[in-house]
């Protein structure tokens, strides 16, 4: 069982690596952010699998923390994207 769950964790990690290509490829910033979210879910899954294999329940807390703050990061991105969409870049007097 342990080896199977480790294998599953490895498989999800491989998917994370592929997701990384999506981050590099884009093409738009929104797509990159989506890939990052996917990697976030992958990280949560890996942690849950590792927590079960090693029998360390506190690792689930780390997964919980990641899940919570992944939303937060997504909101940060959406905030910047939305404000650059509404206001033209030269609306505020810069430089």
């Amino acid at each position: 069982m342990a080896n199977f769950l480790f294998g599953a964790a490895g498989f999800v990690l491989a998917m994370v690596a592929v997701g990384l290509l999506c981050v590099l490829r884009g093409p738009s910033d929104t797509d990159r952010m989506l890939s990052a979210q996917l990697i976030g879910s992958g990280g949560v899954a890996v942690l849950l699998l590792v927590a079960t294999v090693t029998g360390t329940p506190s690792i689930v807390d780390v997964a919980l923390m990641l899940a919570l703050l992944a939303v937060f990061a997504a909101v940060a991105f959406l905030r910047d994207a939305s404000s650059s969409q509404i206001k033209p870049p030269n609306a505020t007097d810069r430089v």
Partner: protein
Amino acid sequence: MTPPFILEIAFVILILAIAVGTLVARTAFTAVLLFMIYGLLIAIAWVRLSAVDVALTEAAIGGGLTGMLLLGAVARLRESEGSGEEPGLPTLLAAGTFCVLVSAALGTLVLSRPEVAPSLAPMVMDNLAQSALGNPVAAVLFVFRAFDTLLEKVVLLLALIGVWSLAPDRAWGGVPGLRLYAEPSSILVFLAQLLPPIGIMIGIYMFWTGASYPGGAFQGGTVLAAMWLLVMIARLQPVPAISLRRIRLLLVVGPVIFVAIGLLGFVVADAFLAYPANYAKPLIITAEATLTLSIGVTLGLLVAGPPDRMLQP
């Protein structure tokens, strides 16, 4: 070679690839995004190193708060992207050689071990019962090296003062220039109403469980800060002016109570930050609870940045 070990090799290669990506990414946005993913993977690395307390801290800081801070900076710097010249080939080569040497030296040094690795773990375990805490890392943070922890909070406050002091004169004491969502969005408002109650519960859980299991004041405070920022970004709550008395009070209440308990140590025990035998746990919990609150407010304001406008009536 066992299957987990092969997996770890792949994992380490992945981490290093992302680190390289962070440095060479074409746009600043991609670089920051990769850095956030890097933080996530580092948290998993800490789990593999059996340091769950550190993993929690890294997950909270590396992925969440640092990400928000840097993404905000990227959005503000958007026009200046691509400026700047890479140094020439000789410089690159020299720097590369130097860095490879540093890496090689570090790798060799860390592993060229004395036969028995030095460790303070037995000492910690011997004295753990006296600290009334079940989590050895929390015991080190709040009992054996409490002075470090106190100074760490002071560093946070100093950083905040540093950030504030970069405000233009006209905005001093005003409202931090946190970037908000462009216009009120009902979906985001829903998220900002739904998430904070759960988040605050998780924050309190982190601090409470920290006494016996991995967790603690700092991890809890980070979650509180994230929730507070979320509410402000969704425009549910206004960003407070930094001159408000209650904000200042919240910022210092944790460190002040910690210092007070430390001074109490002179009277009832025999040294600064020594806890009297039977009251150790309640005192530590009190200090931690107020610290969690103060850390939350401090981190939130650190991310919010320096004030850039006066309070509008």
